[in-house]
Amino acid sequence: MNIKKDIRFRVYIAFTCICLFGCAIIFKAAMIQVKEGPKLRAMAREMHTRFDTLIAERGNIYTEEGALLSSSIPEFDVHVDFSVIDSATFRKNIDTLALCMSRLTMDKTQDQYKEEFVRAYEEGSKYYPLARRKFKYFEYEALRKFPIFNRGKALGGFIADAKEKRENPYGMRAFRTIGVFRDKNMSGLEATYNRVLIGENGRRVVQKSTGNVWVPIEGSEVEPQNGKDIVTTLDINVQEVAEYALRSILEKYECLYGTCIVMETKTGKIRTLVNLGRQPNGTYWEDFNYAMIPTEPGSTFKLATLLSLLNDKLINVDQNVDAEGGTVHFGNRTMHDSHLGLGVMPIWKAYAESSNTAMAKLANSNYANNPKKFIDHLHQFRLDTFTGIDLLGERRTVITRPGTASWSNSTLPWMGTGYGIQISPLHTCMLYNAVANGGKMMKPYLVSSIREYGKEVRRIEPVVLTTVGDAGVIAQAQKCTRAVVTEGTAKGIESPYYTMCGKTGTAQVADKGISYGDGVYQGSFVGYLPAENPQYTICVVIRTKPHSRAYYGGAIAAPVFRMVADKIFSENIGAWGGPLDSLARFSTGVVPAKSATARNYNVLFNAIRKKLPMPDEDVNKIMQVSVDSTNRIVVAPKSMYRNLVPDVKGMSLRDAVYMLETFGMHVNVKGKGKVAEQSITPGTTVTKGQVITIQLS
């Protein structure tokens, strides 16, 4: 064969083979698409896209006044990857960086920081913690702008992980009630209302894009439902005073723990819930919800006995009872009064003096044949069930029942004085509140409304649980509780300015690890104020240390009650009628506030039951009170001249600020109380935006 033809033939063969190879490639590609296509495309979808969770923001906890009790704030964990920082950059900027760090944190010097960073850099540390603590948002903002760090994660090695932290701006105040929220660890309202607060996470589909970035696919988003806010009934001001008052007593007598509950009589709202437990180092901390731990209540329980007897029409509080000198035998046990020597007296007096023997005899003589009747009343007073407060952690109460092994012939008389049963301070508070509330027992509650984006979405209304007695019964019970304060065991505590009712209680404690012989007492005082038209019920329960020098409820719990009551009274001046001592001086012509808004004057005049005509309908208008020539009090609009700085001396802060701001001035406030000085003389022409400083007295 011709050489040239042979070669040409072979070239054609080679070319054909390569053509076939090319066809095979396209054919195989088509086969992949057709045969394995569906499976591969499904894999692709799985790989290219994923669900991304959009974290819902947790709701806040507010008070009804708008104070923020618990909120989530971002915190930053900052690490440095020294291995990515270019050595020239590092050398050039290390001094400045160390200086910036030292200025920001104030905990180490520039040299210390420099030394640390240089060491970490030489080691090539990839995840060097910048500090042992987490950084706040403003610190993080500053850190990001520091030299080296401002080059970002890839060049500056700046790695920041944001984390939500639950923060309580008021610290320990009502800490146990508000509770904590840390990962899986929850307590208090945070736990009770977790489902409201937590919201619902949203999600979206994201697709992997250039540079490991996941880009959301439009329209795939399910927006997160942010958690709703809850508004608690707690009054942070009263809470503060109650905590202070309770702690001062606890510290004074080195008590084991104490709790103080303030309940709004008409509604059952819990205004204050203090729980202080002694820590090993002698300080006090909100460690347990003592208000919800059932214990033997002692004498405060005598109200239940009294109510039971009154409901069954078995007694009248004016009937006489014989305390037999304070020593009575029941079966093989002997009961003593804590103050011996009482003889025959009316039942209200026996209650006021807290005579154990008298109450035990009444219970025993009336119910010994049919103890179930007494137990049924306890059921009626809801002492055998949960209070139903919206706070997790309530425990079951203990009531010895007839027919059980622990029931003996001495059980009933002791139960009548508050032993042999265990109820929580909250139960006791609820019972006294029912008496204060004309017999209606209110369900205690801590959250009054639920808000979403600032708008109320649910209001929680007060709930009447039951009635503990008719008007006659309640009137007699109120008489007894009033007598405790006027001539009984709590004689010393009444304020000259307002009235109150209550009951002391002093119980020997036998509890886990404590026997009656250990000399541990539970002193309590539960009462309400003012006596005429009760507004608040306060329950204070304190457990003493063994063999404490003070343990009577009247000595340790009543002072706390008084301090809290005083605070409530001062906060509510004008809200209820009473001998308002601070306003009494009005009759002498001295007016506490020279000028105030018409609204405030309305409140004031209502309080002192003086009907003075208001010259204007507008309740926001500033009024002035003066005495006219006939010595009569008149209210007239305060004369104000446009563009002239008004005289705000003697006004309350709120009114002064309101007035000055209507003149377009900026107010700078110093001090507390009423306005004593103002930096710009009254009558000066006002310049818009001018700053005026007011000094309060």
């Binding site: 080679a14 088509a30 394995e36 250039t210």
Partner: protein
């Protein structure tokens, strides 16, 4: 404008090949720009960085083609010998001191211009040129084992032996491509069969030795083979399995017309979407149509080279044109076959399309040489026509051809003398043109 025209005038050779090269470069830019997004992000570069780099590389490549195609191809005969003799020590040096990438030592750095390149690219080019020369010389005795085949085979064995330890797949591919060249160069089928048998046996021995001693990359090879046949775990995470799986997903996502330019999703998952697996990205973005076009372009290139081969009266030029283009296209086919999982992963790039530096320039040199042959053939045919019908040629519209032919007339005449077949008298004169002996005309 005038300069452009000037440049166009001076651009000779097969216009279709030029067109194919420009089209491939364009496809390369599209695919590289799309697939380097992740890389640019990782390297903290501007997203245009790799595009601009590739534009520059391809631009330089085109300049190399232009420059090379203007060289009279006969000069490559001498150059082939020099390059081949140079490539052997270079390969040895690379094997011992080269930069190690992916376990194999393949790269060396040129000391002065600070450029890294794969020595095997140079060696391949040198070997193909050298083979074209040897085959053309030995045509008379090629059917003889000792006088023809062995001298042709030995240089191939040397080069393959030096490449194999570091990069077996390149060596295998080179051996196979050379076998195609042997086939075209009229080596007896009997000898080729023997070679194939020896090759398989050699591989088995090499594999066993490597596995037993732990020297070389036996484990990589083993893994690649087992991965291809899918006998081992298919969790899709192992490197090669993962790559192939991702490439297949890309192909499946392409459909007939593709997702559209730049819309590939797999580029973020494929480890090297801009080099070894660029073809699957092309299918994903432009579909089977796009993939088919690329295959067609390579085949068209090869067909044009075959036409040049047919027209070239000299054995060396003919072997050069068909040898270099067939190896180039074969490499392209192998790469695409890897992408569609037709053959195991080899680590070959797609010539003129994959992102790269030196490898594109070596490909450019090869294309330049093919065009140089083409240009020579054109001119020779032109001058023949002129001799036959001078008036017609003079009056031809293509003034450029005339101009160039005038310049090269002298050279052509010299070569034309060589054409005269089997005349010992002329053989002596051929020695003046080609150092190493005569080129028998076909």
């Amino acid at each position: 404008m005038e300069q452009m025209q000037q440049l166009l005038k001076k651009t000779k050779g097969d216009k279709v090949i030029w067109g194919v090269v420009l089209l491939l470069s364009f496809i390369s830019l599209l695919a590289v720009f799309s697939s380097t997004g992740s890389l640019a992000y990782r390297m903290e570069k501007n997203s245009n960085y790799y595009l601009i780099k590739q534009v520059m590389v391809l631009g330089l490549g085109l300049m190399i083609i232009y420059w090379v195609h203007n060289i009279n191809y006969t000069k490559f005969a001498k150059l082939a010998v020099i390059l081949y003799l140079l490539s052997l020590p270079l390969l040895l040096y690379t094997l011992c001191f080269g930069t190690s990438l992916n376990e194999g030592s393949r790269w060396i750095k040129l000391p002065v211009i600070n450029l890294t390149f794969q020595t095997s690219d140079l060696a391949k080019l040198a070997l193909f040129m050298f083979l074209a020369r040897t085959l053309s010389i030995k045509q008379a005795d090629i059917k003889d084992l000792k006088k023809g085949f062995i001298p042709v085979l030995l240089p191939v064995l040397f080069t393959c032996a030096l490449i194999a330890p570091a990069n077996l797949s390149t060596a295998l591919m080179l051996g196979f491509t050379c076998s195609i060249l042997f086939f075209i160069g009229r080596v007896q089928m009997k000898h080729l069969m023997l070679l194939a048998l020896a090759g398989i046996m050699g591989l088995c021995v090499l594999f066993t030795v490597s596995k037993l001693t732990g020297w070389g990359r036996a484990s990589t090879w083993e893994q690649r083979i087992t991965d291809f046949f899918g006998t081992k775990d298919k969790d899709g995470k192992k490197d090669d399995v993962y790559q192939v799986q991702q490439a297949k997903i890309a192909i499946a996502g392409g459909g007939i017309t593709g997702r559209g330019p730049g819309k590939s999703l797999q580029k973020n998952f494929l480890p090297h979407p801009y080099s070894d697996f660029i073809f699957s990205i092309i299918i994903e973005e432009y579909g089977l149509m796009g993939g088919g076009l690329v295959v067609m372009l390579y085949l068209l290139f090869l067909w044009r080279a075959v036409l040049i081969f047919k027209r070239c009266p000299f054995a060396f030029g003919a072997f050069l044109a068909v040898g270099l283009s067939i190896t180039l296209v074969f490499q392209a086919m192998l790469n695409m076959a890897v992408n569609v999982h037709l053959v195991p992963v080899t680590g070959l790039t797609l010539p003129m399309i994959s992102m790269g530096g030196s490898s594109i320039w070596f490909t450019s040199i090869a294309i330049g040489i093919v065009l140089s042959v083409s240009k020579y053939v054109d001119e020779m045919e032109g001058s023949k026509k002129k001799k036959a019908k001078p008036a017609q040629a003079d009056g031809a519209t293509d003034a450029g051809v005339e101009e160039v032919t005038d310049e090269t007339t002298e050279e052509e005449e010299r070569v034309e003398e060589e054409i005269v077949e089997k005349k010992p008298r002329k053989r002596a004169s051929k020695k003046q043109v080609l150092d190493d002996g005569p080129i028998p005309a076909i």
